[in-house]
């Protein structure tokens, strides 16, 4: 069972190949460069190094979002197309859960977050359980202050993601010595971790279909504006 895993939902581009739970290889960069140009060559290079080709793959895992809309779509479209073309399953996994895996052994809650602009964050609360991160609070896009007040009684928390840097002061102000922060590699998502989560999904039969879509966590601004103007269900947050 060889699985290709892809994450392009943030600045990080990460691709990995797993053979069951054994990680055969991973290629990860943390650069402000175009995922569209670099993703397929990265996949081809990694498989080449492993002396594998597309026909050796048994499944594809991809980060489902949230994250950069364009980045998520590039990874998602690529994964969906490879899976369809090879006739193998595709599994999409939360980008936040994949990042949270970096805190699997932390004895407390793990809070991955990405900047969603205007003081809002894409985030969730996870807790490690054997080999998986289990969601303890639903993923959402939320104002940072609101989120921090929601987290007050959750005990020690490890904040992960490079965007935590610009929120660190406010997080410490609210949570004091209950707040811990990831260092270096811990803040950068690993496609190998994503693949590990995807294998568990596969075992449970959680496979995506051809019409699957990323999880953006919010409506487009145009749709949100239209709904609020036309008296529909108003989306509390919007943006693109």
């Amino acid at each position: 069972m060889k699985l290709l895993a892809i994450d392009t939902s943030t600045l990080v581009l990460s691709v990995a190949v797993l053979d069951q739970y054994r990680v055969l290889g991973e290629l990860t960069t943390n650069l402000h460069k175009n995922h569209s140009v670099r993703l397929m060559p990265a996949v081809a290079r990694l498989l080449g190094d492993l002396e594998l080709d597309a026909s050796d793959l048994d499944g594809v895992a991809v980060a489902a979002g949230p994250g950069s809309y364009t980045g998520v779509r590039i990874g998602f479209t690529t994964a969906k197309t490879i899976a369809w073309s090879r006739g193998i399953p595709m599994v999409s996994v939360s980008s936040l859960a994949a990042l949270a895996m970096n805190g699997l052994r932390f004895p407390g809650g793990v809070v991955p977050l990405f900047d969603a602009r205007r003081n809002r964050v894409y985030t969730g609360l996870f807790r490690g359980e054997t080999n998986e991160m289990i969601s303890a609070k639903e993923e959402k896009v939320i104002h940072l202050d609101q989120w921090l007040s929601d987290l007050r009684n959750e005990g020690p928390l490890l904040f992960l993601g490079e965007d935590t840097g610009h929120f660190q002061e406010r997080i410490t102000d609210v949570l004091g010595d209950q707040a811990f922060f990831g260092q270096g590699r811990e803040n950068i998502v690993s496609a190998a971790h994503l693949g590990t989560l995807a294998l568990s999904c596969l075992k449970r039969g959680e496979v995506d279909h051809m019409g699957a879509v990323p999880n953006y966590l919010q409506l487009t601004k145009a749709e949100a504006d239209w709904l609020s103007k036309n008296g529909g269900k108003k989306n509390e947050v919007s943006g693109d």
Binding site: M40, A44, Y69, T70, R73, T77, T81, W84, M210
Partner: protein, 338 residues
């Protein structure tokens, strides 16, 4: 290259609000052409919303490719190459087609060809009858208004383009001023038939020898016309405004296309792009071409609006010319034709 004689190319097009995939044989025979239009999705916004379009493309793309293969009774391994619109267009939308094409090229081990969207529009005519060179093409749509000269396959030279709005864009804007729904082209065309072109609106000829276009002045003239009429409390017939506007656009398009044909000394003119559905433009161009002894080709409606068959057709000739691309192919929203 495959040993069979047939060249089967899969085309993928996602430059705006149509998700499309198609299979074309030998660059000329349409085997399938699946088009999923998002027009209904965007209508309520009064125009194409890029983020909404991109989201819809991701959702539909795989099923559309699958259906194009099914309709053509073709398997991935029968294909010779994959052609995809590289640009111009909405970047987020283009990226979906490009990502899908590259992933499939990799997974199915097929050559990849990036195609210019305007080249695609011109090659739509090749699916009707073989292109005869040299030719001039007038490509008019919501996104473009261009005059292109072709000396042979894959040889493009731009003769003129719009300096501001595309013709289709002008139609949409004027339609909005007249409280008509989106897209504006068919609505204005329909309303024009109830009116007469009696209002004097400007024609932007630009410099005497220019083959460029400009429609922003015309749009402003319509705005002023409606504004002044309202100020003076005059009743203005919307149908007459529509007819007069359409007459101005059609006259300029027709005249410049004929001038381009004469200037290049060619006998063949191709009309392509979504605006070629316009009844007045077709009528006028046919009439002028007959008079001037120009051979005019207008693709069928399905092939005039954005579709992947035209991309597959254009891509076939690039592929046969050895102009293939690597897995680092990127979407280019402002890709130039030459």
């Amino acid at each position: 290259m495959k040993s069979n004689k047939k060249t089967l190319v899969l085309g993928i097009e996602t430059s705006c609000d149509e998700t499309s995939a198609a299979v074309v044989e030998n660059g000329a025979i349409l085997r399938s052409n699946v088009i999923s239009s998002q027009m209904e999705v965007h209508r309520r916004f009064g125009g194409v919303v890029p983020e909404v379009a991109s989201r819809r493309h991701v959702e539909r793309i795989t099923e559309i490719i699958q259906q194009a293969l099914n309709d053509a009774h073709v398997k991935q391994e029968d294909l010779s190459a994959i052609a995809v619109t590289q640009g111009p267009g909405l970047v987020g939308a283009l990226l979906i087609g490009v990502a899908a094409a590259k992933a499939m090229a990799f997974a199915a081990n097929l050559p990849l060809v990036g195609v210019h969207h305007i080249a695609g529009h011109i090659y739509a005519a090749h699916l009707m009858q073989p292109l005869q060179f040299p030719l001039v093409a007038l490509v008019v749509s919501g996104g473009h208004t261009e005059l292109v000269y072709m000396s042979d396959h894959n040889r493009f030279e731009r003769l003129g383009r719009t300096r501001d709005d595309a013709a289709g864009e002008a139609y949409d804007k004027v339609a909005r001023l007249l409280d008509l729904s989106y897209p504006g082209g068919p609505e204005i065309d329909r309303l024009s038939k109830e009116g007469k072109p009696i209002i004097d609106l400007p024609r932007a000829w630009l410099e005497p020898d220019s083959l460029d276009f400009s429609f922003s002045g015309l749009k402003s003239a319509v705005i002023n016309l409606l504004h002044n009429a309202k100020q003076r409390g005059e009743v203005i017939h919307r149908a007459d405004v529509a007819a007069s506007f359409q007459e101005s656009v059609v006259e300029v398009l027709t005249e410049k296309a004929v001038r381009a044909v004469r200037k290049q000394g060619v006998k063949h003119l191709v009309l392509a792009g979504g605006v070629s559905a316009n009844s007045r433009l077709r009528q006028e161009l046919l009439h002028r071409c007959q008079k001037e002894n120009i051979h005019l080709t207008i693709p069928s409606m399905e092939l005039c609006t954005d579709n992947a068959a035209m991309i597959a057709a254009a891509g076939t000739f690039r592929y046969l010319d050895g102009q293939t691309d690597g897995l680092d192919l990127n979407a280019k929203p402002d890709l130039s034709l030459i």
